[in-house]
Amino acid sequence: MAGVKRTLAVDLGGIALSTPLVAASGTFGTGREGGLLDTRRLGAAVSRSITLAPRKGAPSPRVAETASGLLWSVGLQNPGIDAFLADELPRLTRTGIPLFVSIAGSSLEEYVRLASVLQDVQGIAGIEVYLRGEGEAQEGEPFLSSAEHVVGVVGAVSRLSRLPVVAKLPVSLADLVESARGCVRAGAHGLTIDGSAPGMAIDTARLRPEVGAISGFLSGPAVRPFTVRAVFEVARILPEVPILAAGGVWTGNDAVELLLAGAWAVEMGTALLVDPSAATAAADGILGYLKHKGLASPADIRGRVRIPEPGTGEEAG
């Protein structure tokens, strides 16, 4: 197909990215490391998750290797929103890559305060809302354990925010599809579907958990099938909503798989930690795929996995 002008650019409902590859939260450093991370083909990056007060994070060890996976539990180590804005953000935005700031709270109030503070900050592309239930129990129920809580937080943040708000929903959330729909109704601009899920590993020689926090979250290629499935299910009911897919993206082919499932862009975490130029390689892979299929841009493959129209199917039973 001669004459096709090929691009990697994607438009997340008004947020223009030069590629659909986004550095995932917690794997992009603080803007001071520089050096080996090859950012040329990153369309955007997400900061580590920032809380109101500084957090020292989880005890070590904080990572363990599992079969095709990385079990991590960093415990949201971060300097708190004030120090982040003063020291970290300026360096992060200086890279020129659109930056999402990830926020994490232990209560609705904390999320609201974090979002408010960010309203007056220049140079941020958007807010990604971290939604793991790390907060305290409220009326017996752990915070963020139900769709209701999650939608409540995302709604509150979205209502007050002039910046686009992306809700990062773990696949392990009960009622993922319902939560996704709820977040969008409540005003979320987009969704990050995160395939990493709670896991644990035990050092059998020393009879102790492999990570200091006892359990952590599993990421890496092992979890990609969960990400693919969740993205597919959410994208089908919310085809107009920008979806970022996180969890198990390493190569260009992995990215294509998630775009086919319905993602608008993909986040890369573990891959960047192991291979600091993974995004550049993935970009080449996507371009090669587009070329091979004679297509012009990532939007051309978004959600294009071939499945039957509902209703035409027949039970194989």
Binding site: G29, E65, V274
Partner: protein, 290 residues
Amino acid sequence: MRRVRAEILSTRRVGVYHSLTLVAPEIAERARPGQFVGIAMPAGRSFLLRRFYFIHQASRRGGWAGTLEFAFEPDGVGAEWLGSARAHQFLDVMGPLGRPFAFPRRLTNCLLVAEGHGTAALTFLAQELRARGKRVDMIVGGATEEAVFKPIEVKRVSQTVAILTGDGSLGTKGRPVEALPEMAEHVGAEVVYAAGPRELLRAVAEFCREHRIPAQVAVEERMACGIGLCFACTVPVVRKDGSGYDNLRACVEGPVFNPARVLWDRWMADIPRMLPTPPGGSPVVGSWPG
């Protein structure tokens, strides 16, 4: 800090260790003692993370210019794979990573204490200290004779040497730390450097604090990226002003730390524990003198 495709020049067995020499001029030229490299595992494996190794030799001059050596015990899956690598194979290597040992400006008598593969890091340090006109004495050890890394080279680079092995198969029976008091006194140690298991580093910290000897230790903590991106590899280190502690990344803010400032109890908690801040507040300690 560079990332290169480095050819393996040679591999050999050194006791229980495998030693690999790479052609990596971009890294070798910059390498300093205490720094390390990160080696990628091959594609298609179920183990994903890089493995990190202290730089044992980095030749800037002579026939071996541009080469780099490190050593490891092939115990787990990653090191085992690396142990099976052959000459002329290429490795994806990042380095030199981390902050190196600082050299003392005024002080002269340096005592280096190492156990296991820590000796690989400290022989490199010994050479560089000697090149700066310092006196170097070493205590080295391992479980068995085979686990004492290159004892002949150790003898070559240091004035006096104490060797200790767990089973007494080489030198004295015992662990390196046991020789520390006597040796420190004997050689008039003004600065202590250490690398090896945490128990050793901690004992060195205690000894040096008690005897008011400045010290530096190179720590190992599990790493994912090795370049500061992920906060996987943190060690709790007291602030210079004593106002508290921070979890510092061993890969960029270490691996060399002033042991007096490391919160050993917190870091080494044998069972995972989330320790309260010490009631007395964090101790104020002087920073590395130099």
